[in-house]
């Protein structure tokens, strides 16, 4: 088990994506965050990657115009109100 104090830049950077994606367990997250607090270079990279991910998330949503929403509502209005039992693809 690597202790926070002993984590190298290489080790921290190897876990950076998973830190930003909230995929690390508590111990590893704490270890990487501890390294970032002490290492300006890795901290800068982490901030960059966080902002980059935020920018990507912003293109994940798209305004839906009335015509398309109407198309979907119209589609659903034609569904038989009892969903077919046990229908699987």
């Amino acid at each position: 088990m690597t202790t926070p104090a002993s984590m190298t830049c290489e080790e921290a950077l190897a876990l950076l994506a998973e830190l930003i994606d909230a995929e690390l367990g508590a111990d590893q997250r704490q270890a990487v965050e501890h390294h970032l607090e002490a290492c300006r270079s890795c901290y800068s990279r982490a901030e960059f990657e966080r902002r980059f991910k935020q920018r990507l998330a912003q293109i994940g949503r798209r305004d839906v115009d009335a015509a398309f929403e109407g198309r979907i509502r119209s589609l659903i209005s034609r569904f038989d109100d009892t969903p077919p039992a046990g229908a699987v693809d």
């Binding site: 800068s44 960059f48 980059f52 991910k53 998330a57 912003q58 305004d63 929403e69 659903i76 569904f79």
Partner: protein, 204 residues
Amino acid sequence: MAQRPGGRHSELFEREVVALLPDLLGAALRLEKNRADAEDLVAECVAAAWQRLPTLRDPAAFRGWMFRILSNRFISQCRARASYRELSVEEEVMEGEDFSLFLRLHQPMLLWWSSPEEQFLDRLLREDLERAVDALPECFRVVVVLVDLQSFSYQEAADALELPIGTVRSRLARGRALLQKSLWLHAQDAGVRPLDRIEPVTRT
């Protein structure tokens, strides 16, 4: 959702679907790359979801379930038109290119408030990001769309795409590297100077 009281099934379904439309359309636009095909994909997803509604056991899982249907329909359509290239076992375990925009842009000798990498992000347009995502091969693009654009966890993406979580992790890393490289190459075409030509800030 099928067991929920207080309304017709289709009304409840409609409410849930309409609330999710901006996300579904946002994802479909990046998968299909054009509005008409994206809207068709979402409509087909909605119709398929209604057919399979009895299989949805946990109403709280509706969002992930819908994206699973959306991504699977997209991949099936790609396979049908032979545009989805499966990675071979060798390609799957191959190390991807480790491209980092940060390493291209960062200049450690500059003061923190004059950060070229932050300026680069500030100047990135939505269209730049969309173009870069659209340029990814489908097998990487679907993972990037789910994890980065739709905030899925690795496990949720693995479930949606029916892939091992390790495959999601490696495709995500490679997809992100390709994405950043594409943005870098586009920026260079647009006149952003390579790192070694940027003059350091000097005090006068």
